[in-house]
Every structure is written in C-alpha cells, then in structure tokens.
C-alpha cells in the first residue's frame, strides 16, 4: 500500500510547572486537547482515534492511565494505544500517530502526552528516571542519569576540546528564549558565570546545565491530506520521520566509524572512534533516516528551526553534531559562535527547550511538535501573545526526542505547506 501524506492540523500545550496539583493528568490533557480543538474549530467527532504517551508508571502510580485519558476526552470507543520509550516517549508517540495516518488506518488522530512528576520529590524522581537504565549493572551505582550524561560530557570535552563555558552558553540561550514563551517553566536571564556558579550536580554539569522535573501535557492533531485541508487552511506537512537506537548500557557502546550524512565524508573523521560514549549514534541514525525521507542533503542550510532534546546542555551540543548541523567535534564552537541563536544560522530551541520550557517526559516530544507547528504556521504571536520568538520565513523544521543515554531517538521533519 502506498504511504499517505500526513499533516499536523492543530496543537495545544499546558503551561509547564514544577508542580500543579490542582489538575490531574486527565484534566491536564483535556485542557491541551480543548485548546487544539478550539484553535482548528474542530471537535471530538473529527477525531478517529488517539495515541497516548506517558513515560513512567512509577510517577503515575496508575497503570492504563492512557485508557483513562481516552475516556476523559470522550474518545471511547475509538482506537487508542499507549506508547512509552523513556525520554523519547513523546517523539515516538508523535511518530506512532504519523503511522496511523500514513498506513491509511485512520484519517485523523490526537497524539496526547503527559507526565505528572510532582507526585514524588526530586530525589525519588531521579530514582524513577534511573530505573530507565540497566537495573542490574547501572542503576545500583548511583541511580542518577545526570551522572551518566556528565561522564559523556567529560569524554566529549576530552575528545573535541569542548569547554564548560560552551556548554553553559546553551543554558544562557535556552533560558533566555523562554523569557518570551508563556508556556515555559523556567524563563531566566542568566550569564555563563551564573551557570558555572550554580551548585554542582555531577561534574562538570551544574544545576543550570540540567533540566528540572515538570508537570504538563501536550496534544498534537494529525490528519490525512483530505481531512487536514477540511480542518484547516494552514496544515503543516510531516515530511520525514527517523528513529535510531543504541545499547542500553553506555558501557556496551562500540568504537566504530561514523554513519555519514550526505554533507560529510569519511576523511572528516579519520581518527574518531564512534560513538564511544561521546556521541549519540541513535540520534545520528534517526536524523539520517528522516533526512533521507525528506530529501534533505545539507541540514544546516535546509532547516530553519530545530527543537531538540536538551535535557542537559551537553546533550544539546552533542545533538548539533548528530543532526549534522555541524561536524562531530564542532558542537561547542557552534553554540559559542551564536549559530544556534534565535537569529543564528539555525534557531535551536527557540521555545527554551527542555532546560527552560520544561520536561514533563511523555508530553515533551509533543510539546516540541506543537511549538514547531506554530513556528511553521507563523502563529507564534497568536499563541504566545508575543512574536519575539517567531523565526521569520520559517519553512522547514526538525524536532528531536531522545531517551536513555541516547538509547531511543526520534527525529521528525515538519514543513510549511505555503
């Protein structure tokens, strides 16, 4: 069967917060869902089914919470399923929604993501998140994901000369962008010195190099071509999807060669043992597949905006390289030279990203899709009541959702239709 074109037609996001106990997960999703319904002037009768994504059964302490969302939204008895894949839960859920439409099974689908992390304190949350590392070999060593990322950052610095100040610049940029995003959890005007002077979490990453726990929900409505243009005059095309994986344990990552993008050659990486623990091979593979499907051969010049999974400042720098926005080893100077700034070479995380907009895990990848949708629709002003973050002439964007220490990564290319 021929793959059908898939469009995003509407989206909604709740304001991300450290804790909002006034709403449970069902009501939170309902708020984002109703925003999406109202924005496209559609209703539940226009939705053929759903994909519901949330990460942790431990945070939720409610199995089949996806079924409860389906019920609360009034979408029963239509098709629905739950998708889970660690930090990439939202991105994988979005791609699963894509597949429902592309396959011809459904004509419209609501992809709904949420996480309520405030049910436990931060220490317990760290423990729950670390249960997404090998519980026999990695978890008992400290139960702490920031520790794993810190070791990757140290190796990236050794391999490529990346500096802690370059990492800090990611934090300055993303917290600064979030000042103009009313949905963001941690807008902040800060300096490199503020980042370096904040408490050390796991050397070399400080409190401001690391995202925080969030409560939030996000909804994206996807549709087939016919249905999309019935629903809105301004749908956004999903041009390509890619998903990569890697060994769960960092220890098991090989030391091989780089899977090259069209803009790279073997001689670029003569002495680089890849991915080791300095790079995310899953991110590279996700980008490679998505670029091939979207016909992108020169990512830095063919993408106008990127929303990527900056759970840590270091992982944003590593991800520039995986996505081929620069060569491996150039991530630090990429941010230092302002290329990822709002009006740089390609705007990276204009929303503030996970560091500043927030990271309610199951919602995060869908939040990226919604912000990207608004960028490509040129409706940032309408939704943010401020057009500061609108990238002028934004035509094509990439969203990137990442799990584990780069264990699952989902990359999706979205493109304005006109």
């Amino acid at each position: 069967m021929e793959k059908r074109k898939v469009y995003m037609v509407s989206g909604g996001v709740t304001k991300f917060t450290k804790s909002s106990p006034d709403m449970d997960f069902r009501l939170r999703v309902k708020k984002a869902f109703d925003y999406a319904m109202n924005d496209a002037n559609i209703g539940i009768n226009d939705i053929d089914g759903s994909v519901i994504s949330y990460f942790s059964d431990h945070f939720q302490r409610q199995l089949m919470a996806g079924a409860m969302v389906q019920d609360y939204l009034g979408l029963v008895p239509k098709p629905s399923k739950r998708i889970e894949g660690g930090g990439a839960t939202g991105g994988l859920g979005f791609q699963s929604g894509y597949e429902e439409i592309a396959s011809g099974r459904l004509n419209s689908v609501a992809v709904c993501g949420f996480e309520t992390m405030s049910h436990v304190n931060t220490w317990k949350g760290n423990e729950f998140i670390a249960l997404a590392s090998d519980t026999n070999f990695d978890y008992p060593l400290g139960g702490f994901y920031t520790g794993y990322y810190a070791m990757m950052a140290v190796r990236h610095m050794h391999e490529f000369g990346t500096t802690v100040e370059q990492l800090a610049q990611v934090s300055v940029k993303n917290h600064g962008n979030a000042m103009h995003n009313p949905y963001s959890q941690s807008p902040m005007k800060i300096t490199v010195e503020d980042v370096r002077n904040s408490p050390m979490v796991s050397y070399p990453l400080t409190r401001l190099d690391v995202c925080t726990m969030s409560d939030g929900a996000a909804v994206a409505v996807l549709a087939s071509e016919d249905k999309a243009f019935e629903m809105t005059d301004h749908p956004v095309l999903i041009k390509g999807i890619g998903t990569g994986t890697d060994a769960m344990r960092l220890s098991d990552r090989p030391f091989g060669s780089v899977p090259l993008l069209p803009n790279e050659k073997e001689s670029d990486y003569k002495n680089l043992k890849y991915p080791g623990v300095h790079s995310f091979r899953a991110g590279r593979m996700a980008a490679k597949e998505a670029y091939e499907m979207a016909g992108i051969t020169d990512p830095i010049n063919e993408l106008d905006v990127v929303e990527l999974h900056d759970a840590y400042t270091s992982s944003e720098v590593q991800t520039y390289e995986d996505l081929g926005l620069c060569k491996y080893g150039e991530g630090g100077s990429f941010v230092e030279e302002g290329k990822a700034n709002l009006h740089g070479k390609v705007a990276v995380n204009p929303s503030g990203g996970l560091l500043a907009a927030g990271h309610p895990v199951g919602a995060t990848g869908i939040m990226q899709a919604v912000f990207m949708f608004w960028q490509l629709q040129h409706t940032i002003k309408k939704h943010f009541h401020d057009d500061y973050l609108q990238i002028p002439n934004a035509k094509r964007g990439l969203i990137h959702s990442h799990a584990g220490t780069g264990t699952y990564v989902a990359a999706t290319i979205m493109e304005a239709v006109k």
Partner: protein, 168 residues
C-alpha cells in the same frame, strides 16, 4: 439469612498524612519486594566473590565485552565467559553531588567508565580513594572487591593504581 443492617466497619486511630486541603493532597505509601533473578548473568555476580570480573567473548566473531552478554550484539552468536584484567584505565569520569534517593547518603561519589587492554567495550563502576581533581582520562585504576558480598554490581569497585602511576 445473614443480612445485618447494623453491620459497621471497625474504627481505628490510623489516620492519613494530609499536606493540603485545596486541592486535597495526601501521603500515599507504596513499597514492594521483588524476587529478582540475575538469570543468565548470575555467574558474573557469583564470580565477584572469587575476585574475578567476567566479561563475555563472542564465540563466532571474537568481540570482547567488559559486561555479561550471553549473545553478541555485533553478530547475534552465543558468547562465552571471558575473564577481564583487574587493571584498567579511566575512559571517562564524574563526581555526583546529587543522586536518586536510595543513594543520596553516599554523595558525593565518583562514577567511572573503565577501559581494559584487549577488551572492546567499557565497564561502569565507582571509583573511591580519589577526588574529582585527582581523576583524569587515562588514569590507571584497579579493581577491588567487597569481602562480604551484597550480590550487587557494587561488590566490585575501583581504586587508583598508584604502582602503575609511579611507572610513568
């Protein structure tokens, strides 16, 4: 007939911890014990009691892992146990000042990834006996083992190998 319209639940003095009333937020306790099997990786853990580190070697392609893997990630073939050297080098490191709740009382602690000669992949462990500023990539380290096992990956840990350090 046993119908009893006067049936009543017993009352007791066990209450609920309430953090807030609007919205109503209560404390909910949740705890469990697992009957956890290390299954095909069991020999790795029991070998720690004999001060041995067991990795795996692919019978077909010869790839050597510093971790137990009953089957090879490169070719899918079965592996055999492969005794690792007890001396290696720091491939990368960190010091954690925060952690998951279970390990908070152990902070700050060092995590390292160790590389061994003749082994294709790494081993993650704790490094004790060194501060952040003492650690570096390439630092010689050696494995030590608990005398009284906990049957956990933490039964092995690494310390600075000062003898190797002195040779440099």
């Amino acid at each position: 007939m046993t119908l009893n319209p006067n049936a009543k639940l017993p009352e007791n003095e066990e209450g609920t911890t309430v953090f807030n009333t609007d919205p109503l937020i209560i404390k909910y306790h949740y705890e469990m014990d697992y009957i956890h099997s290390y299954a095909q990786d069991s020999s790795f853990f029991t070998a720690l009691g004999q001060k041995k580190l067991l990795g795996s070697k692919c019978k077909k392609c010869g790839y050597v892992y510093a971790t137990p893997r009953s089957h090879c990630m490169m070719c899918g073939a079965e592996t055999e146990w492969h005794e690792l050297p007890l001396k290696g080098k720091v491939h990368t490191f960190t010091t954690c000042y925060f952690s998951g709740e279970e390990f908070l009382n152990e902070t700050p602690f060092n995590l390292v990834m160790v590389e061994f000669d003749g082994v294709n992949s790494l081993f993650m462990s704790r490094l004790i006996g060194a501060e952040t500023e003492d650690m570096y990539i390439g630092m010689p380290v050696k494995a030590k083992f608990r005398r009284n096992l906990k049957m956990s990956i933490t039964d092995v840990y690494f310390v600075p190998d000062v003898k190797e350090e002195g040779k440099k």
